[in-house]
Amino acid sequence: MSRIIIATPARLAVERRLVLQILGIGSLAAMGLAPGLVPRAQAAEQSLAWPKNAFAQKNETAALDALYEKPIVVPSDKVSLDVPEIAENGAVVPVSVSAALPNVTAIALLIPENPFTLAAYYPIPEGTEPSVSCRLKMAKTSDVVAVVEADGKHYGARKQVKVTLGGCGG
C-alpha cells in the first residue's frame, strides 16, 4: 500500500475524495487498500466503521493521527465549543460544538485527561449541519478539544472544564 508522498495529507485526502466520487466507487475496500488505512474520504461513504484504533489512543496526538492522518490543527474561532466552566457532575458534561465553516466533513471531541482521549467522532454528511450536542464523561479537570475537518483542513477549539470533587455525592 503506497501513499503519494508529494501531496500534503490534507490535499491528498481531498483529491482522493474527488477521485472516488468521479469513479463512483463505493468504498476504499473495493479499491483493495489495506484495512489499516483510515482514509478521510470514507466520510463521504454510507458504510462507515467504528474507528476502533482512534478510540484506543491515550493521547491527543495519537487519537488525531488515527482519525485524520497526522493533521495540522489550526485553532479557529470559527469552531464554537460550548462547555461549562465547572462541571456540575463530571459524569454528565453537556458539550456543544458547531463550525461556521463550509464543507465540514467531520467533528471530533477529545478529552486529553481521560483514560482514552477520543470521546466521540461525528462524520458529517453533506446536507447535515456541522453542529452537534452531546453529554460526555470527564475523569478530572481537563480541556475539551473539538477538531473539525473541513475541505481537508483541520480546525480546533479547546476549553477547560473544571471537574471537582462534589460535596453532595453519596
Binding site: P84, E85, I86, A87, E88, N89, A91, V92, V93, P94, S96, S133, R135, K162, V163, T164, L165, G166, G167, C168, G169, G170
Partner: protein, 288 residues
C-alpha cells in the same frame, strides 16, 4: 447563645435572627407551636437572601442560584434523563392490580394533580402520610406487595404523579390538632438539629450555606427543596425519592440514617413541605 450567633455568620445572622427563634425549644409545654409564623420567617429569610430568585424558581435548587449550573441544567432539560422513569411511572400507575383496581381508586381526583397536598396529617390514624406511604398502603389494600422505597418503581410512580401536579403550589395543611402540631415540630427540630460525625444539621447546609459551595457542589436553599422530587441525580445515574435523599444526606454527614418512611423522615418532609407552601411543584427533576 452568643457563640451560636457568631458561628452562624453575618448574612445568616442578619435575616437569621428570625430563624433563631425557631431553633430555641419551647419554653414550656404551653408555648404555642406556630407553623404559620415559622413559614413566614422561613420564606422571608430566603426571599431576602436571594432577592433575584422568583418564588417558583426555588424549586430548582442550585440552578436557581448559580448561572453556570443553570446553563448546564437547561441543556440537560432539553431532553431530561428522567424521561424513561416518567414513562415507566405512567404505565405502572395505570396498570391494574391483581384485583382489578388501580391507584386511581385509592387517591382523591384519581391520583391526578394531587402531589402538592402531600404529606398530609391523617387525623384518624394520627400520623403523617407521605405520597410514598400512601402508594404502598394502596398496594397493600389491594393485595399487592409494597414497593421498596427510594428507587425503581416507587420513584417512577412518584415521577408520574408529580408531573401531573406541575405548576400547582405546595398546599400542605397542618390541622389544629395537637398531634399534627407535634409532628410538625418534630420535623422542624430534626431540620435544625446537628447530627453525625460531621455535626451538620440540614440547616447548616441548606440555610446557612445555601447558594454557597460544599466542595464542588452548590447547596440548594431549603425553600422549595422538595418541589422537584423525585429527582434523577447524575451522581446516582438513576431516580431517587425524598427518602433516598434524606438517607444519603444523613449518611454524608456520617450519621446513621433512619429507615425510609421512618416517622422522623415523614415529619421532616411534613415540615419542609409546609415551609414551601406556595412554591409550585416542578417534579420530576434533575440534579448533579
Amino acid at each position: 447563645m452568643k457563640v451560636a450567633i457568631a458561628a452562624i455568620g453575618r448574612r445568616a445572622a442578619a435575616g437569621g435572627i428570625l430563624l433563631l427563634a425557631l431553633v430555641l425549644p419551647p419554653a414550656s409545654a404551653e408555648q404555642r407551636i406556630d407553623p404559620a409564623a415559622d413559614q413566614r420567617a422561613f420564606q422571608t429569610y430566603f426571599r431576602q437572601a436571594f432577592p433575584d430568585v422568583a418564588l417558583d424558581d426555588f424549586a430548582n435548587g442550585p440552578y436557581a442560584v448559580d448561572k453556570d449550573m443553570r446553563k448546564q441544567w437547561e441543556e440537560i432539560m432539553q431532553f431530561p434523563p428522567y424521561d424513561f422513569a416518567l414513562e415507566d411511572g405512567k404505565k405502572l400507575f395505570e396498570t391494574p392490580f391483581k384485583d382489578g383496581k388501580t391507584y386511581a381508586d385509592c387517591f382523591p381526583q384519581k391520583g391526578i394533580g394531587i402531589r402538592q397536598n402531600y404529606p398530609y396529617f391523617d387525623r384518624q390514624t394520627g400520623e403523617v402520610v407521605t405520597l410514598d406511604l400512601a402508594i404502598n398502603r394502596c398496594r397493600e389494600k389491594n393485595g399487592e406487595k409494597p414497593l421498596p422505597y427510594q428507587v425503581g418503581d416507587m420513584a417512577a410512580i412518584d415521577a408520574y404523579m408529580a408531573s401531573t401536579s406541575r405548576g400547582k403550589p405546595f398546599a400542605i395543611e397542618i390541622p389544629d390538632d395537637a398531634r399534627a402540631l407535634a409532628a410538625y415540630e418534630e420535623g422542624k427540630q430534626f431540620f435544625y438539629e446537628r447530627r453525625g460525625q460531621l455535626n451538620f444539621s440540614c440547616a447548616s447546609c441548606h440555610v446557612q450555606a445555601a447558594g454557597k459551595r460544599l466542595r464542588g457542589d452548590i447547596l440548594a436553599p431549603a425553600l422549595g427543596i422538595l418541589a422537584s422530587f423525585p429527582i434523577y441525580r447524575s451522581d446516582w445515574g438513576s431516580m431517587g425519592t425524598v427518602d433516598r435523599r434524606f438517607i444519603s444526606c444523613n449518611e454524608q454527614v456520617r450519621s446513621v440514617a433512619f429507615k425510609p418512611e421512618d416517622e422522623l423522615y415523614r415529619d421532616l418532609e411534613y415540615f419542609l413541605s409546609y415551609m414551601s407552601n406556595g412554591v409550585a411543584i416542578a417534579g420530576p427533576g434533575t440534579r448533579p
